[in-house]
Amino acid sequence: MSSMHLLRAFNGIVWRELLRFLQQRERFFAALVRPLIWLIIFAAGFRAALGISIIPPYQTYITYDVYITPGLLAMIQLFNGMQSSLSMVYDREMGSMRVLLTTPLPRWFLLLSRLFAGVAVSLLQVYAFLLIAYFCGVELPPWGYLAALPALILTGMMFGALGMLLSSTIKQLENFAGVMNFVIFPMFFASSALYPLWKMREGSLWLYYLCLFNPFTYAVELIRFAFYLEVNWQALGVVGGCLAVFLGLSIWAYDPSFGIQQRKAGAAAAA
């Protein structure tokens, strides 16, 4: 197989996902409305009640809406990761996943391409949100918008891989909504997205430790630091490690020789 074949296939998979996303306008608006409600309503209320002291990477006092912006970006990506995996479950149920899996392309390549396609969609949402947030008064360092891009790609991939792993274990489309809520909200709330971890420790020690075990925390911090042209190495390590684990398990799960997909299909056919 030529590298040109792989490139064309990759482009085709990304193009299809973007096309589908742009044609589902409701999904685009829903993806933006959710974090905007947090930013405009929730953050406005908390702006007066909650002061953020100077903590890295911030050099000065910041407003609460600036603080929660990286968390909201991660939330957009987490939702998108789950949405992409929901689309994989849908494709599997509707049969179009078979078209993908019966091409002469390695499974790891197909899954990785789907992952990148999901990240491309999430980046559209993230930068559309940042544009609106800018007009709502959330100003971040100008170079930060560019510097955060690699971090956003990495975090988008981690959430996409997590969704992909979940999709491999879900038998039916209807079950997925429950799983999404079970994953998204605990991950979002038990993290540094809404409050700094030191504040969390003051409030509840066990919650603080829970946040430390939550990969979402590290995704938020990676994005936060990247906006201020800094690298949070610990966050980078955790996000990279989680991405490798989630992706490895997804590839294993979708492999016809070993994966749970085969056992699941077998159980269904035998029934």
């Binding site: 792989l6 296939a9 509707m94």
Partner: protein, 260 residues
Amino acid sequence: MQKESPKGEAARTPVLTVRNVSYYYGSKQALDDVSFDVFPGRVTALLGPNGAGKTTLFSLITRLFDAPTGRIEICGRSAADHGALALGPLGVVFQQPTLDLDLTVKQNLRYFAALRGLKRKDADERMMRALDALDMAERIKERVRALNGGHRRRVEIARALLHSPKLLLLDEPTIGLDVPTRTAIVRHIHELARTDNIGVLWATHLFDEVEADDDLLVLSKGRIVARGVAKDVVAETGAGDLGGAFRLLIGGDTEQDIAA
């Protein structure tokens, strides 16, 4: 016995070889030592009742499942040795519709062409040819959601032919279609096999889709219970027609025994 094609040596080289394939779901055996060949230019009809193992067999050939025992080769290449590359010469029309409803016919076909590594210009030319042959060229800009079942099926067949496959797998492609559409598709596939020298494996539960000169495999309880040219199989059983022969072979009563 499989009929040897008159087209010479190349025609006698199978495009699909299945040898001693068995498959279990836990302790339940779905396929038992299945062996057969599909030759270029020939339509091989696969008949079998519910639970006979047709879907499992298709899943193994298309590598959706991995074959733990036996060997499956497409144009001489097995998935065990060549991985996904073995699927290169394969075109598939699944029983379940697999088009993206929100995309247009053209977008669906371009997506598939990209997966097969075709250049955009080449893909567009092939797309027009394939759609033209199925009288669907004028619907190219329509969303699939707007098409009826028969037209969607035609698009799926056009898609499966886009990369000029040597082996075409059809898993009950005419299910749910009206008689004229069904007849047109059956005729088109038979013509295609002859003119483009494609080997076709066609799972069906409708006897009238099998021509007398087609190769026939009858699968029952995971085993092949009859094989050969359809008219010869009918003659050997002493039945008056294929339906009668089928009932004798599987020990069933009606055509309703046959299904996906």
